[in-house]
Symmetry: C3
């Protein structure tokens, strides 16, 4: 059984969520594969980075709540979707370049979905609200951090852009809604769309968090 | 219940240890926040690095002994203290600079305390002496390693300074004392103060471990 | 009881496997220690990197299957062999340089052995074929990735050389053989030698995986 099916067991929208989940995984994997290709990694490296971005955050979450082995390893669909993204990037670079817009769209949707389902899975395992919010954010942004560490650069989410902050907003809405007794289907959509819109609008209008004073390095 | 209260359950000095534990956490978080600000990270990045330094080592220890979710996620005080350190660094840089001396003091105390309590927690979970010593060191230095990996540089504890070695001395004294049947309160103070003094004196007199021959890069 | 003894419990070749296992660990640790020395780390840094290369992959595997604490922490022989390798590298650099050929040989054997035993341990813990193959590869290459991340460079296995791919072949043969009901002793030797030969011949004849197009950086 898919993690996100499990996590979203109260909803009527299973099929839609599964499609979004795999589309988000694909978009995350594409972002990893493109970054790896641009650094000149070999085929194996491109596949590893694609998989790390798509599944790394969820794997850290699963280790932290004791759900072993992590879903990224046990559910073949995540691996299959990641490999498909890696091979498309290797074999059809120009096609992937033309997909830039839908990939950004699904990446933003994936961010919201991963933040929400990550928080839900922590609550299903009976952990407190703080754990659920923090692990929602880890699920959403952990893969991107792994990508940047492996590619030997300071993680982009720590430097600029509204990305982790959008995931934080989504996770907080989901967890607060659960505590306040909102209908689960409703709160999940509100949380997901808040994160998605915040991320998507911040890209469009180039919003950034303030930087602390410092010498900077980019 | 706080990890360190648990770990130090045999002692009469609970309150003092809790204060030292949170002061050590604060000092660790300040060191992370200052390093992140100096690299020009945004506010979110400063908060993440502060939290990683303060809680990263303990989280790796907890994953290794199966104490999930890690204490850094479940006890809100660690998060609160880390966020306070991050915000002070962002909002009141000059004030933090004037705190350099007390921060160094509490950082050294935190090093000793984390090494000792890390080793104790591993022993409470019934693991052998080797595991306890190694995880004591990991608790004390893991956060600093995470900080340097995220900031894209070779961890400073691997390059110079008596830091991890001081933690090793503290963890060995604690574990050997437990095996030899020393009174727990006594051995804990001896272990903590040995680590603290070794670290503090090495800073004052600029002691370093020898470097192996090599081209170096700093 | 040694992990690999456990994992290979069906075989008649215990003693031989234990010797190979420790020889592989030693070779992995030497590769870490030499890299750390060449970056000018201090003695502590050399020891940490040696241990990370020798045991890092197995530790990630053990965290992923819930076998805590990881074998690298509980079995003193891995620590002892890693420290011996670190001290030889520090104290007898020229001697280590003359050992280059046997070290390469045992490194390739260790790669095969770790891939096979990593996959076996995952199957003993009752996980599916995908998990077993992925964790076999992680066991074999995880330590090298940790080394490169700590030394602040893009992991070499992601950039060139037939290394992880050889581990993948070994792990697939072991897992497929188990599913097809091959005699365990026979399939283990076939898997181990396939990985070893692929790695060893690729070094000798300078085979590489194709690189994806990109600007490269080495």
């Amino acid at each position: 059984m898919n993690v996100h099916e499990l996590a979203l067991a109260g909803l009527n929208d299973h099929r839609l969520f599964t499609v979004l989940d795999l589309a988000g995984t694909f978009a995350f994997a594409i972002s990893g594969a493109v970054a790896a290709r641009d650094r000149g990694l070999d085929w194996f490296g491109v596949m590893v980075i694609a998989f790390a971005v798509a599944c790394g955050g969820g794997m850290v979450r699963d280790l932290c709540i004791g759900a072993v082995p992590p879903a990224g390893l046990t559910d073949w669909r995540y691996l299959a979707v990641s490999m498909a993204a890696a091979w498309m990037t290797i074999a059809a670079g120009p096609l992937v370049a033309r997909l830039a817009h839908p990939v950004t769209l699904f990446d933003s949707l994936g961010l919201g979905l991963f933040a929400v389902t990550g928080a839900q899975k922590a609550m299903i395992f009976d952990h407190n609200a703080e754990v659920a919010v923090l692990l929602g954010v880890v699920t959403a942004v952990g893969g991107g951090v792994a990508r940047d560490v492996l590619l030997n650069r300071v993680p982009v989410i720590l430097r600029r852009e509204i990305y982790a902050s959008a995931a934080l907003v989504g996770a907080i809405i989901e967890v607060a809604g659960e505590r306040l007794g909102w209908v689960s289907s409703g709160r999940t959509w509100v949380a997901l769309m808040s994160c998605f819109l915040l991320r998507y609008l911040s890209l469009r209008y180039k919003w950034n968090l303030p930087r602390s004073s410092g010498r900077g390095d980019d």
